[in-house]
């Protein structure tokens, strides 16, 4: 199978090489795939802003291996077929030599199948784990990363006895809950519910009734987007916010805006970045962002900022490898590290070891209450 793949990719490379490539001297073209439409489209403007800031910052320090970065944007919010077309236009049509992707896993699957390791691909957002393809570098948070230190900490702080897990019915929701189960049981608490909902659901009353009936005092919320907003609002309106704490691994600033701070009592979010993180590196980044994009800038959030991190990771590995070729990057990626707004980040097994922040919510938004340093991603890819 590998041999066939090799022959196929060699053949593809040979024929694709015949396509016209526009190459301007002295610049490196980087394709940036962010959702500009579809359900995740709301992250488009902020992700784009972070990508632009990243390119400018790197260019200010001399560029990527001495070459200025030129950004080419593509819409990753479409169906995977269309997203593949879009990235192909940037890669083979416009000559991009690296791809930064901040989009969902379905598109990632399509892109990985398309690239076949021929172009370095940096996948940046929080996701379900398990991506080990050649030429792929993941700096997003994994469930293990977000939960392994956090659940025991919550257990020691708040001492919940019964956890209820609810998630969207797809691989990220299921993987997150599965990982959580182990950590929860290790703390001596009991899992009293494990429920999955399709994306289209708008009414969570039945689930909330079950949560109430189960007597749970902690809820793991593995819902995304609109479902997360709707669920958390309804949760609070039934008065459950006082009865049970909530922990979510994909509750970022936009989702919080939808939920409303008043409905976020006893809500904890575990992520690699919040706009309100007060470390020097994070504050410097936030003020650079505000300065660059002004007061009307799209609100900073964890997913958008991950795109910035992707650029930093690309710079770090490229520096270590001395080249942007896929093979050399693969050889050099293990152990590459940098310091960015999230803190110190090191690449291990195609994923990153990074700091994890736990935040609760005040009327000013997220407030970091605990920081875990250098948390392992829990992934076992061979490089």
């Amino acid at each position: 199978m590998d041999r066939r793949l090799l022959i196929q990719s060699a053949a593809a490379a040979a024929t694709l090489g015949a396509w016209p490539l526009a190459r301007a001297a002295g610049t490196t073209k980087v394709a940036v795939m962010i959702p500009q439409s579809g359900p995740a489209g709301l992250f488009g403007p902020s992700a784009k802003a972070c990508a632009e800031l990243a390119a400018e910052t790197i260019n200010a320090r001399g560029g990527l291996l001495g070459q200025k970065i030129e950004l080419l944007f593509g819409d990753a919010g479409l169906a995977p077929a269309e997203a593949s077309q879009a990235v192909l236009k940037l890669w083979k049509g416009s000559g991009a030599t690296a791809v930064i992707g901040m989009h969902d896993s379905a598109v990632r699957g399509a892109l990985v199948g398309l690239f076949k390791g021929q172009v370095p691909y940096f996948y940046t957002p929080v996701y379900e784990g398990g991506e080990c393809a050649k030429g792929t570098y993941v700096n997003g948070e994994t469930p293990q990363q977000q939960l392994q230190p956090v659940i025991p900490w919550i257990a020691s702080e708040r001492k919940p006895k019964k956890w209820y897990m609810i998630g969207n019915d797809y691989i990220w929701g299921r993987n997150t809950n599965a990982a959580a189960k182990g950590y929860i049981e290790k703390t001596g608490a009991q899992v009293v519910g494990d429920e999955y909902l399709p994306f289209t659901v708008d009414n969570f009353d039945a689930s909330l009734a079950r949560i109430r009936d189960s007597g749970a005092d902690a809820v793991l919320v593995s819902l995304v987007g609109g479902a997360s907003v709707g669920f958390n609002k309804a949760f609070a309106s039934f008065g459950l916010a006082d009865k049970a704490l909530r922990l979510g691994t994909l509750i970022e600033e936009n989702t919080l805006a939808g939920i409303g701070a008043a409905n976020a009592k006893n809500l904890y979010s575990s992520a690699g970045y919040f706009a309100n993180v007060t470390t020097p590196a994070a504050t410097a980044f936030a003020s650079a962002y505000a300065k660059r994009f002004g007061p009307q800038a799209p609100a900073l959030n964890g997913l958008a900022e991950s795109a910035y991190e992707g650029f930093l990771m690309m710079e770090a590995i490229a520096k270590k490898a001395g080249s942007l070729s896929a093979a050399k990057l693969d050889a050099a990626c293990e152990g590459a590290s940098y310091n960015g707004p999230r803190g110190a980040v090191t690449m291990k097994a195609r994923h990153v070891e990074q700091d994890v922040y736990v935040a609760d919510v005040t009327d000013k938004g997220f407030r970091v209450v605990k920081t875990f340093s250098r948390v392992s991603s829990g992934q076992t890819c061979k490089v």
Binding site: S37, G74, A79, A86, K89
Partner: protein, 598 residues
């Protein structure tokens, strides 16, 4: 001799031109698709190939909507099924090339599913309207849910990835040729079918399905066959999609994709296979380009779509067609060689008719209140009675238009109560409606052809060119008796005057050679001279066929001229029956007509 030879050669040349004309869209397409990678580059070809694939599925939607008049809102289901099944087959074929044969069932199974569903749906209800669309929509949504849930089969949200191309083809270069060939093939196939009798039948169903049923065409089967074909196109496109993209996600089976097919068909031209294909290619490709430059390109697409729906019902293809509004189907089949039609399969005796205490109540109104009468043997009988007596309703209840709430109707020794119109028609019944019911957008020639084919056209004959030239001696006689028809053979039937339309409909009613004619006020709206001629023609036709006829008529002079038995209906039952003179002296009848009895 020499002149007929010349005429033959001219006809043969005309036929070749005709054959060529039906294929020019496909030929033009082929030329463009060949030029594309040469003038452009392989990358452009790769991009366009995706939209060609979508275009093939769009052609399926356009077939149902533009030709047959019902809108499938859920073609994504068959596209996605074809894609997932082909994906499985292609993956298996990487190990074992023999698996490639599995591509055939991968494409046929969704089509079969569509056909079965359509048979079930259309058999229930004549109204294939928006309810059918909603059903297809709901089915696609179910499919989408299943595709996301059953991740063991489909890979769930992340999709089925790592699908290889069929062996021997390379995704970024040679696969384009396969896709282009299929696109040219489907365009040619659809273009040909439209010009064959089946195309005329499809158009006729869209224009007047009731009439088709009255001829004995099982329109539910015809519609289901067409739907199955359109699903086949969608599944074929889905299989090509799997090969082209290498990954199939639930998006391929979604409501969103289904609506995109509809939008592309609307903008490109739903009545034209090439138009539908180009709609997908142009609009789809333009969208993907615009998307990179315009944040609000979707507003533009929305406005374009509204404009097309409001002002350009035939889409962009409608702009280029020099066809007048009245030629839904190309009328060039005038050049097909004339041959004798096979004999009609309608039974050759007059089917005996018996109404047995038939009752029909609707919304509190008693339409038929125990109607009983019988009819045997050839000859014209008149049916008279005041308005609301139930004359037309008796016909309606016989031909499945009105449900009987009591009693039984027997025809040719079979109980036909509740039978659909086409089944009754196949027992040898022909019906002429009160308001002349023809196919307004077909030419007179095509209208007559549809009537001639009724009961004669079977199976594969609908796909051949020959039936366009079928002649029968009865048709020739109709042309003589109604000279105005032979003068307007190439005009759309909708443009005929009332009188000519009555003539056309009568001619159509007798051409399948039924042996029981139900004629509902055939002289309505005719001048006295025309009435006289119509009665004359009716008598001659009935005699020629040896048929029995029931004629609803108000004009007692005309009834007298017929000299047959007369049935008097009143308030939904038979009041009296017999020769006209007897009835004219019957006190009960006189009371009803003088208004003394309600």
């Amino acid at each position: 001799m020499a002149s007929s030879l010349v005429a033959d050669r001219a006809a043969a040349a005309g036929e070749r031109r005709l054959r060529g004309r039906s294929l020019w869209p496909a030929a033009a397409l082929a030329a463009a698709l060949i030029a594309l990678p040469i003038l452009g580059n392989d990358f452009l070809a790769y991009q366009v190939a995706l939209f060609l694939v979508y275009g093939i599925a769009t052609q399926g939607v356009a077939l149902c909507w533009g030709r047959l008049g019902f809108l499938p809102l859920g073609h994504g289901l068959f596209f996605g099924l074809g894609a997932y099944l082909a994906g499985d087959v292609l993956k298996a074929s990487a190990e074992q090339p023999a698996w490639l044969l599995g591509l055939l069932p991968a494409v046929l199974l969704p089509a079969l599913l569509a056909w079965v569903v359509a048979r079930l749906l259309f058999a229930r209800s004549l109204r294939s309207g928006p309810y059918f669309s909603l059903i297809t929509l709901a089915m696609t949504m179910l499919g989408f849910l299943a595709a996301q849930q059953w991740s063991g089969l489909t890979g769930g949200f992340n999709g089925m990835g790592n699908i290889p191309e069929p062996s021997g083809l390379e995704r970024f270069t040679t696969l384009y040729w396969l896709i282009a060939a299929v696109a040219v093939g489907t365009t040619a196939l659809l273009g040909t079918l439209i010009r064959r009798p089946i195309g005329t039948l499809w158009s006729a169903i869209a224009q007047n399905e009731d009439r088709m049923q009255l001829f004995g065409y099982a329109t539910d089967k015809l519609k289901a066959d067409a739907y199955g074909l359109s699903a086949l196109l969608a599944a074929l496109a889905g299989a090509l999609f799997a090969a082209h993209q290498g990954i199939v996600t639930p998006q391929a089976m979604s409501f969103v994709l289904s609506t995109e097919f509809v939008i592309w068909a609307a903008v490109g031209g739903k009545a034209s296979p090439l138009g539908a294909l180009l709609g997908a290619v142009l609009v789809g490709y333009a969208s993907s380009e615009l998307r990179d430059h315009f944040a609000s390109w979707e507003i533009f697409i929305g406005l374009l779509f509204i404009a097309v729906v409001r002002f350009l019902p035939e889409g962009l293809a409608g702009l280029s067609a020099r066809r007048s509004r009245g030629q839904a189907v190309p009328a060039s089949n005038a050049l097909v060689e004339a041959t004798t039609a096979p004999p009609a399969r309608a039974p050759k005796q007059v089917p005996g008719l018996e109404f047995n205490d038939v009752r029909c109540t609707r919304g509190g109104v008693r339409i038929l209140g125990g109607l009983s009468f019988s009819l045997q043997g050839p000859g014209i009988r008149a049916v008279i009675g005041p308005n609301g007596a139930g004359k037309t309703s008796a016909f309606n209840v016989m031909t499945g238009r009105l449900p009987a709430t009591g009693g039984r109707i027997r025809l040719a020794d079979q109980d036909i109560t509740g039978w659909p119109a086409w089944r009754v028609a196949r027992l040898g019944v022909g019906r002429k409606m009160q308001v002349p019911s023809v196919f307004p957008e077909l030419t007179v020639r095509q209208n007559l052809s549809v009537a001639v084919w009724a009961g004669r056209l079977h199976g594969l004959a609908a796909l051949q060119r020959a039936p366009h030239g079928w002649q029968t001696s009865l048709r020739g006689e109709m042309m003589e008796w109604f000279p105005e028809l032979s003068q307007s053979l190439d005009s759309p039937a909708g443009q005929l005057s009332q009188g000519h339309r009555q003539a056309l409909e009568f001619a159509m009613t007798v051409l399948p050679e039924p042996h029981l004619l139900l004629l509902d006020e055939p002289c309505a709206g005719l001048s006295p001279a025309e009435t006289h001629r119509m009665i004359d023609v009716i008598q001659r036709a009935v005699q020629r066929l040896g048929a029995g006829a029931l004629l609803i008529e108000h004009d007692l002079a005309a009834v007298a001229a017929l000299r047959g038995d007369v049935y008097v209906f009143h308030q939904g039952h038979l009041l009296a029956q017999g020769p006209l003179q007897n009835l004219q002296s019957d006190p009960a009848v006189r009371e009803v007509y003088a208004g003394a009895r309600k």
